[in-house]
């Protein structure tokens, strides 16, 4: 197992290097000029050519592509994500300041998604073609189709403005967390619920479920003991991939709810063409993607004993 994790971490390093190269190139070749935007924001009027020239010199943006790229790679491999053009603070520090809020939001959204989607998906499978099944299908379709920003606004309108139950934006106790977490988690809830249902239906058709019933087990035991772990395998795969999407989705949700996470910081960074911030964010999302997929692979070994990463008894 340790060998397997070590090998996967080594692959992860290569993936991260690739991601950083691509993210650097994309930002480098994207149109727009950080000097103009940032100087205009600072002094409030159009910058002169000399000021722009000076900004480029100061941030090393005059060098050719490969020189800049090599510099960036050198920096990130030494744990330095550069300094934000706007705040003049190291990007890493800015992230560390804001990341806990984003993580809190993402974890809450994931928690809601798991808590709702798994039991409902199983129930829908057990009572296939019942009112509950059709109802959950409708809700899932609605949940997947609803764009985040629209759902967020509706929730604010209804629960904050009309009913005055939750604050409409800001950061603080759990009452501030609920609406943004629901907004962020709805899409994931809907897709996981459908997947859980389909997966459970597939498992219930298997021979070993019939064997379990032939032993005289209660249907409840058949489902939870014999079906659940088997049905969870594809769901866990998708869950791992969704972690990255949650972080990306957080960008929008944080903007709507004025949530002080990395997402909002990134949006401001994109407007200002703040290269180090954009590149750093891409890198961090990629890192989470890689790590969550590693976590999924480790979870697999627990769920499915047929998957073994260690060389044991001469079999792989």
């Amino acid at each position: 197992m340790i060998k397997f994790i070590a090998r996967r971490l080594m692959i992860a390093v290569v993936v991260m290097l690739g991601v950083s190269l691509i993210s650097f190139s994309l930002v480098f070749f994207a149109p727009g000029n950080p000097a103009e935007v940032i100087i205009r924001a600072e002094i409030g009027e159009e910058p002169t050519l000399e000021e722009i020239e000076f900004f480029f010199q100061e941030h090393g943006l005059k060098a050719p592509f490969f020189t800049q790229c090599a510099q960036w790679l050198y920096m990130i491999t030494h744990g330095d994500l550069g300094t934000s053009f706007r705040t003049e603070e190291p990007v890493l520090v800015e992230f560390i300041d804001r990341f806990p809020a984003t993580l809190e939001l993402a974890v809450a959204a994931m928690f809601i998604a798991i808590l709702i989607s798994i039991p409902l998906g199983i129930l829908a499978a057990m009572k296939q073609n019942s009112v509950l099944d059709h109802g959950s299908r409708f809700v899932a379709l609605w949940g997947v189709s609803m764009p985040n920003f629209w759902l967020g606004l509706l929730l604010i309108l209804f629960f904050s403005v009309r009913l005055d139950l939750f604050p409409c934006f800001g950061y603080g106790g759990i009452e501030y967390l609920i609406l943004p977490a629901i907004t962020l988690g709805t899409g994931m809830t809907a897709s996981l619920m459908r997947l859980m249902r389909a997966s459970m239906l597939e498992v219930l058709r298997q021979d070993y479920i019939r064997t379990a019933r032939a032993k005289g087990l209660m249907e409840r035991v058949v489902i939870w003991k014999h079906g659940f772990k088997n049905a969870l395998i594809p769901v866990v795969t998708v869950m791992g991939m969704q972690v990255g999407h949650l972080l990306a989705g957080a960008v929008i949700v944080e903007t709507i709810f004025a949530w002080p996470g990395v997402g909002k910081f990134l949006v401001d960074g994109i407007y200002a063409r703040d290269y180090p911030v954009i590149q750093g964010f891409i890198l961090i999302i990629a890192l989470f993607f890689v790590l969550s997929n590693l976590a999924v692979d480790i979870l697999y070994t627990y769920l499915d004993p047929r998957i073994r990463y260690d060389v044991k008894k001469g079999m792989k």
Binding site: R210, A214, K215, G216, L217, K225, N230, R306
Partner: protein, 313 residues
């Protein structure tokens, strides 16, 4: 004493292609301690018949007739009463143990379930019983093997573990569905020997579902030959091999390697589109006009020898 008596059993289910008439008017009796072989080609409804006894068919299946077990009609029991029969009174040994065992639970867990469920044993005591029964079916070092998963067992060991699972609560009736299918010939012989030993030493009855006449000859007291959905001949094992009466049985036996390896004409009909009259008439060398229209009744032509054919009317 009669243990199981199936009367006028009909099993039909609906599919997109039409109604499947898997079992039609089947009558069968299994005595205490008897091993009855149900033989026939793939797709003739043997497995469906076995599953209908334990009521393990899907909900859209229509089952009619009577299945009397110790005098009680299983088709009239409610789900809770039926659960007390399954695994305790009547157990099933499934074909294809790789797919019939749960891939994510250990062998020990899967075999201990019937003990915990029907004998109310604690997990720890149940495991002792599991080790004992695995020893009985000759799994080497069972106390270590119980912690392994089905995929870690060889094909023969998986089948023996499957048999152990069926035998766990010493049921009165075992439904064994092709227990030797897909095994190497040497392993097959081991499994047959094991089953022979287990059934001759106890009062357990068995319904052996198979298309392998060799296996049936080793294990069975009596044989019922099934041809799409119905029983066409019933006799004790020696009589059937020596004196097969139904043209289908004759053809079936004639296709054996030791008996000329002669293939039968035509194909077994689909259960969706069964011929009128005698189901075998399109393939029968002796078919006459009335075989096409009228279904022959079962007639007794010798001591405990029944056949469904107009040749013996």
């Amino acid at each position: 004493m009669t243990l199981l008596s199936i009367q006028n059993l009909k099993v039909h289910f609906h599919t997109e292609d039409g109604a499947v008439r898997a079992v039609n008017d089947v009558d069968l009796v299994i005595e205490e301690g008897e091993t009855l072989g149900l033989i026939g080609e793939t797709g003739c409804g043997k497995t469906v018949l076995g599953l209908s006894i334990l009521r393990l068919l899907s909900e859209n299946t229509k089952v009619e007739g009577k299945i009397l077990y110790k005098g009680k009609d299983l088709l009239k029991l409610n789900e809770g009463e039926m659960r007390k029969i399954r695994g305790k009174e009547i157990a099933m040994i499934f074909q294809n143990p790789l797919t019939s065992m749960n891939p994510v639970l250990t062998i020990g867990t899967q075999i201990s379930e019937p003990f915990e469920l029907h004998q109310g044993l604690k997990k720890k005591d149940a495991i002792q019983k599991v080790i004992a029964i695995l020893k009985l079916v000759r799994i080497p070092s069972p106390s270590e093997r119980i912690n392994e998963y089905p995929h870690e067992f060889s094909g023969g060991m998986r089948q023996r573990a499957m048999i152990a699972m069926g035998l766990a609560c010493e049921p009165s009736l075992i439904l064994a569905d092709e227990p030797t299918k897909g095994l190497d010939v040497t392993i097959q012989a081991q499994v047959v020997d094991l089953m022979k030993e287990l059934t001759t030493n106890s009062k357990t009855s068995m319904l052996l579902i198979t298309h392998d006449l060799g296996v049936a000859a080793e294990l069975c007291d009596n044989i019922a030959v099934m041809y799409p959905g119905e029983i066409v001949e019933y006799a004790d094992i020696k009589e059937l091999f020596k004196n097969p009466k139904h043209p289908y049985t004759q053809g079936f036996l004639g296709s054996l390697p030791g008996r000329g390896l002669k293939p039968m004409n035509g194909m077994s009909p689909s259960l969706i589109d069964l011929p009128e009259g005698c189901k075998f008439h399109p393939r029968c060398p002796f078919a006459r006009e009335r075989c096409k229209n009228k279904r022959p009744e079962m007639v007794e032509i010798g001591k405990k020898h029944f056949v469904r054919c107009f040749l013996y009317d």
